[in-house]
């Protein structure tokens, strides 16, 4: 018998409206993404020059940590050999990325984005289901714990519980006290992610950077297996580092590129346009013609020092 039940119809309509929630994706970030190196190509791939702290709002503590860094540590200390990039550094786009949309098997609601990086097989999850953060006593991980919320077509994510890692691969550290915020936005086949790192131990202001990826459906992500092997015999209590004031490599970037040495020491001032008025002249003028990393990205290619 066909019967109208007005009250139940109304309830069902309300239920249908309520269930149309932002837990369904506001944008689709899933897919294979290749990083674009149209900014800071030499720093991000071959690696930053020693002593290059340009544009990093370093604290005094962060600067000394960076000055003390000796890259020998990566091979001499076995535990560093296979150290992966942390959740914030991996977004500098050093390797290809696959983003998977994770859905509730019953409701099809999007509950998370899961990222896998080609480098060191790093994985990250950005939870979208509003789950609570782990305890302050819980372990920290490389990728941290990330929770995301939608704001129209933008995914905002906030990450805590990060292990100590680096802001640049020339020794500028990133402490385990840091957190970072991301803003993901997609335009066509471009995915842009702005990261804002707040590190009370290393930085005096948030570090804002943004990177772009391009959709690459033909990408085949393979394995990147790292095996720790002691390479250099050493005393058990030896850790490579430079004593304060003794690092001989800190002037290289200023000399090679004709930059004011003080600017290369970083600090929040160096981020702002007015810094140019007070940064002074370089001790050595820049070369008349480029001799280092001049053609990175030429024809869309790679980056060699010559």
């Amino acid at each position: 018998m066909f019967q109208f039940r007005p009250l139940r119809l109304f309830s069902a309509a309300v239920l249908a409206a309520v269930s149309a929630s932002p837990a369904f994706a506001q944008a689709d970030f899933s897919g294979h993404w290749a990083p674009l190196f149209h900014e800071d190509h030499p720093e991000r791939l071959p690696g930053p020059e020693l002593g290059d702290y340009l544009g990093i709002p370093l604290s005094e503590a962060g600067r000394l940590r960076a000055d003390s860094y000796d890259a020998d540590r990566i091979s001499v200390v076995p535990e560093y050999e296979c150290r992966p990039h942390a959740g914030d550094y991996m977004m500098r786009g050093l390797s290809n990325m696959r983003v998977d949309a994770i859905r509730d098997p019953v409701t099809s609601r999007l509950t998370a984005f899961h990222l896998r990086m080609g480098f060191q097989e790093m994985e990250r999850t950005i939870y979208l289901d509003g789950r609570p953060r782990p305890s302050a006593n819980a372990p920290h991980t490389w990728s941290g714990f990330s929770v995301g919320t939608w704001q129209d077509n933008v995914l905002n994510a906030y990450t805590t519980h990060l292990k100590e890692n680096y802001i640049r691969r020339n020794g500028i550290p990133a402490s385990d006290k840091r957190t970072f915020t991301e803003h993901w936005v997609r335009h066509g086949n471009y995915l842009t992610i702005e990261t804002v790192i707040t590190d009370p131990a290393i930085l005096t202001e948030p570090l804002v950077r943004s990177q772009t990826w391009v959709l690459d459906p033909t990408q085949q992500m393979g394995r990147d297996i790292c095996e720790t092997v002691p390479e250099v015999p050493k005393a058990a209590d030896y850790v490579p580092h430079h004593l304060p004031g003794t690092n001989p490599f800190l002037r290289e970037v200023a000399d090679w590129y004709g930059l004011p040495a003080e600017a290369t020491r970083g600090g929040a001032d160096t981020m702002y346009p007015e810094y140019r008025k007070k940064m002074g002249k370089p001790a050595n003028p820049p070369p008349a013609i480029c001799v280092r990393y001049c053609n990175c990205g030429l024809n869309g290619g790679g980056c060699n020092v010559q």
Partner: protein, 260 residues
């Protein structure tokens, strides 16, 4: 109990009917103006945060240094031939301040609404002014310029395809975009960087302006710039420039273009 069968069909028909009738009734008014329809407020003063590409932005890069730019051989040749004295002699000091590169210049932006359909972006670096038109295309008589002709639109979000009837599917959902999309053409040949990395007059520039609010209350503006140039670029050149909101223009510091 609604369940399946006739009662379910009745429910769906009622929902569709409610949706349709909501669209009838009073005649639709004029669409909101771009200013009224703005999903995000981009106006105000913004200062560059030069945390990336520092030695290509805060200082004039070394001649011949085109690192990170996907130039083709023709573009690389032009780069290696850069002569700022020639640019000065020709009155082309502003060649590196065109629309394809101005967002990379360390400086401040001042964004305002000229009227309901026009945004203005002023820069203190090079004292440039960009006009973002929310309608129309470049007039035929418009001469190429450093800033070209910019057409803006609030980027369309996602709208349901296939009407409103949710037969067999979950509820449809529209998504609004918070991004301003700007297409710029009619450009004079200029430089992507102050050391003569070129773009041609055939270049087009597509930009997306985003505003983000951080947990600490700071607001950031991110401008994604895509430069497509069949003459000098092997592929589109994509950069993102970040800015921090400032309370006022007290640090506004106009400086003329320089070729060096």
């Amino acid at each position: 109990m609604i369940g399946h069968g006739p009662n379910r069909v009745a429910l769906l028909l009622v929902m569709w009917g409610v949706s349709v009738s909501a669209q009838r009734g009073a005649p639709p008014g004029p669409p909101p103006t771009p200013k009224a329809a703005a999903p995000v407020d981009l106006t105000g003063y913004w200062v560059s945060l030069v945390t990336e590409d520092w030695r290509w932005r805060m200082v004039t890069p070394i001649k011949g240094d085109s690192a990170s730019v996907p130039l083709n051989p023709a573009g690389k040749k032009i780069t290696n031939e850069w002569d700022p004295a020639k640019d000065e002699a020709a009155g082309n000091q502003c060649k590196a301040y065109g629309a394809a590169a101005i967002m990379r210049m360390p400086g401040r932006l001042h964004i305002t609404w000229v009227d309901d359909n026009t945004l203005k972006v002023e820069t203190d670096a090079g004292t440039q002014t960009r006009i973002l038109h929310f309608a129309g295309t470049a007039p035929a008589t418009e001469k190429p310029s450093w800033q070209g002709y910019s057409v803006a639109r609030w980027e369309g979000g996602l709208t349901p395809v296939g009407g409103q009837l949710p037969l067999g599917l979950g509820p449809r959902q529209s998504t609004r975009s918070r991004s301003l999309e700007v297409e710029t053409t009619n450009l004079r040949a200029g430089y992507l960087r102050k050391n003569g990395v070129p773009y041609s007059s055939k270049a087009t520039v597509t930009e997306y302006f985003e505003r983000f609010t951080e947990p600490d209350g700071n607001d950031h503006l991110m401008v994604m710039t895509v430069v497509t140039d069949p003459e000098y670029l092997a592929r589109p050149f994509v950069v993102t420039s970040d800015f921090k909101h400032e309370a006022d223009g007290s640090k506004w510091d106009p400086a003329p273009c320089t070729a060096r």
